[in-house]
């Protein structure tokens, strides 16, 4: 009995059906897992900071490791001017990391495998960075489309290419995360189906591959959250530190 590997991506309603002006806002399994992730992150940090010691104990140590990891990454890619944006980048990183990781549990729903979720996150970053760029640099923000040292006859085509690559940032940011999660989880379910259909005799081969694939997916979950955060910091660096 091989079930459809795409069945795991279906969003269905849990509880009563609510709607505001005809738009369906009922609680879904997607909302449930976002709620679970948020509660997990908040609880993790609350336990770690309940009694703050100078020499950290176990949970506080992990809190500090996560904190320093993101803090170092921000100061390396975006410099000291990006310090006020640290809580935002930390939230984005932890949220995506937890959503990715929770999706690996059996029967769990991977929220970041929905394109609308990743698209919204990417658009928030894109619009945020653009607004910050115009706020800090005024109309001079448009100078990022004109890199220095370009010969004058190539200028129009370079500016066109730069504008297109700037506008493709939210698309690439969202599709990278979405496609990684979609492809990984689809492969996991497909190989799980092979294990069941090959049974006792041949089932060990797809099972060992499934184990290796799950290990790879844990790495990919962390890596994609890290790459999303790093690219957000690089875009922020473009907006904040503009001295061409």
């Amino acid at each position: 009995m091989a079930t459809n590997p795409m069945h795991q991506f279906e969003v269905h309603r849990i509880g009563p059906s609510l709607s505001i002006n005809g738009i369906d806002v009922s609680f879904t399994n997607s909302s449930l897992f976002m709620l679970i992730s948020s509660i997990l992150i908040i609880t993790f940090f609350m336990i770690g900071t309940r009694k703050v010691n100078i020499i950290p104990d176990k949970i506080q140590l992990i809190n500090e490791i996560v904190f320093n990891f993101i803090s170092k990454m921000i100061s390396e890619t975006a410099g000291p001017k990006a310090k006020p944006y640290f809580p935002f980048i930390l939230t984005i990183f932890l949220f995506i990391l937890t959503l990715n990781m929770i999706g690996l549990l059996p029967y769990a729903f991977t929220v970041t495998s929905q394109i609308i979720i990743t698209f919204f996150l990417a658009v928030v970053i894109f619009i945020g960075v653009t607004v910050v760029g115009f706020a800090k640099n005024g109309i001079g923000f448009l100078k990022i489309f004109a890199p220095s040292g370009v010969p004058i006859f190539l200028f129009p085509i370079i500016v066109a290419i730069e504008i297109i690559s700037f506008l493709s940032r939210p698309v690439s940011l969202s599709v990278r995360l979405f496609a990684n999660m979609l492809a990984g989880h689809t492969m996991l379910k497909v190989f799980g189906g092979f294990v069941v259909s090959l049974g006792i005799i041949g089932g060990w081969l797809p099972l060992s591959f499934s184990v290796a694939l799950t290990a790879l997916e844990i790495l990919v979950a962390f890596l994609q959250a890290y790459v999303f955060a790093v690219l957000s910091c690089i875009y922020l660096n473009d907006a904040l530190n503009m001295h061409h």
Binding site: V175, R176, A179, A183, L223, V227, V230
Partner: protein
């Protein structure tokens, strides 16, 4: 030609993009390795950059997958 057959051919052609991804992956890790063997102490500091390069190259392969799926199932 029927639409179904054309979709299959389109999805197959979209997979050709993975050749570029393979070359890119090999280049990234190859240059990191040859530089790391020359200067092992500086290699540790560039490890996050290696992971970033790997993930960005991997993303191109996944863009090809998305195009193949779009051709197969959305048009």
């Amino acid at each position: 030609m029927e639409l179904e057959a054309a979709k299959m051919i389109g999805a197959g052609l979209a997979a050709i993009a993975l050749a570029g991804v393979g070359v890119g992956m090999g280049t990234i890790f190859g240059s990191y390795l040859s530089a790391a063997i020359r200067n092992p102490s500086a290699a540790q500091k560039q490890f996050p950059t290696l992971l970033l390069g790997f993930a960005l190259t991997e993303a191109i392969g996944l863009f090809a997958l998305v195009i193949a799926l779009l051709i197969l199932f959305a048009f």
